[in-house]
């Protein structure tokens, strides 16, 4: 019978905790995963700022998401502005997992000077309560100067928008007269209208 059973695990426990500045990715991974207390946010944020290994970065972001405090989200939010696409995506994923903390940060993110930040921040409105999300997106649609940021807000409204959003959608589409924006506003209005 080729099937065997061992009383204990056949292999030793994969990693032992070390420190965030460890020489090997495995050691840093283990360290990041073990740091889940609110007091760890500063150390995790610091490590995140210079960690190059994608897997370790993920582990640091998971720990920050898990801690989920306002401070934790505040440490991750600046990474939305990174030049590194992977880091931006990782930061957004982590923030999506912290809906409570994100709600507090959104107003500032949605008025950031950098259009790219405003655009990506719209995504985060998906995870906050619908009423607040609709209000923030409509507010943005009325004052935003960049067409792509508006498109991002309309995309979010398609999922979470309530009928209150319809006038703002129309105003925005008229203001820009861009084919994609007009298309988006129309589809969004259809989806939202059908939600009544």
């Amino acid at each position: 019978m080729p099937l065997i059973r061992k009383p204990d695990a056949a292999a030793p426990a994969p990693e032992t905790a070390s420190d965030l500045a460890g020489a090997s990715a495995d050691a840093r991974w283990a360290a990041a995963r073990a740091m889940t207390a609110p007091g760890d946010v500063d150390a995790l944020a610091k490590a995140l700022s210079h960690e190059q290994n994608p897997r370790v970065r993920e582990a640091i972001l998971t720990s920050l998401a898990r801690i989920g405090t306002r401070q934790s989200a505040g440490a991750v939010a600046p990474l939305i502005a990174s030049d590194d696409a992977q880091l931006r995506a990782g930061a957004l994923d982590a923030l999506r997992a912290m809906p409570g903390a994100v709600a507090e940060l959104l107003p500032a993110l949605l008025t950031d000077a950098d259009a790219d930040v405003r655009l990506l921040a719209c995504e985060l409105a998906r995870v906050i309560p619908e009423g607040a999300a609709t209000a923030m997106m409509c507010d943005l649609l009325d004052r935003e100067t960049e067409v792509n940021v508006c498109a991002s807000a309309i995309e979010v409204l398609t999922e979470v928008g309530s009928p209150e959003a319809l006038p703002a959608l129309e105003r925005c589409a008229t203001r820009f007269a861009d084919p994609f924006l007009t298309f988006s506003a129309r589809v969004a209005a259809e989806r939202i209208g059908g939600r009544r």
């Binding site: 992977q86 995506a89 498109a151 398609t158 994609f180």
Partner: protein, 129 residues
């Protein structure tokens, strides 16, 4: 004379409105369109139904478009060489450079007009425009 099979294009973008917009334009131009919401899903679709062209956004959850292209280009599979048009909101020169370095054939900045999209699709799938 039998009609040639429609060429397949895989649109990779987390925004449903963008996918819908591209789909309308591309289907009207005679392409078959598949969709994926992020880079990892794109890999799955690619492996199941190889397309003639990839249209890839950059900012997506789980796996961004550039990471996806890098992973794809380093595999040693026939699909690794699939032409890729990156269409992103990012407009800085370093964003364009990063896309090239990741393996993009062309880079466009959103919003893209339907006629531009189909012109590039024709170019990259080797069809007469």
């Amino acid at each position: 004379m039998a009609e040639p099979a429609r060429k397949r294009i895989l649109v990779v973008d987390d925004a449903s409105l963008v996918r819908m917009y591209y789909r309308e334009a591309l289907e009207a131009a005679g392409y078959e369109v598949d969709e994926a919401l992020n880079g990892l899903e794109a890999m799955e679709r690619l492996l199941s139904a190889p397309p003639a062209l990839l249209i890839v956004d950059v900012n997506m959850p789980q796996m961004d478009g550039l990471t996806f292209l890098k992973v794809l280009r380093r595999q040693e599979l026939p699909i690794s060489g699939t032409p890729a048009l990156v269409i992103s909101t990012e407009a800085k020169p370093q964003d364009r450079e990063a896309a090239r370095a990741a393996g993009a054939n062309y880079y466009l900045v959103k919003p893209v007009r339907p006629e531009v999209l189909t012109a590039y699709a024709a170019l990259l799938t080797g069809r007469a425009a």
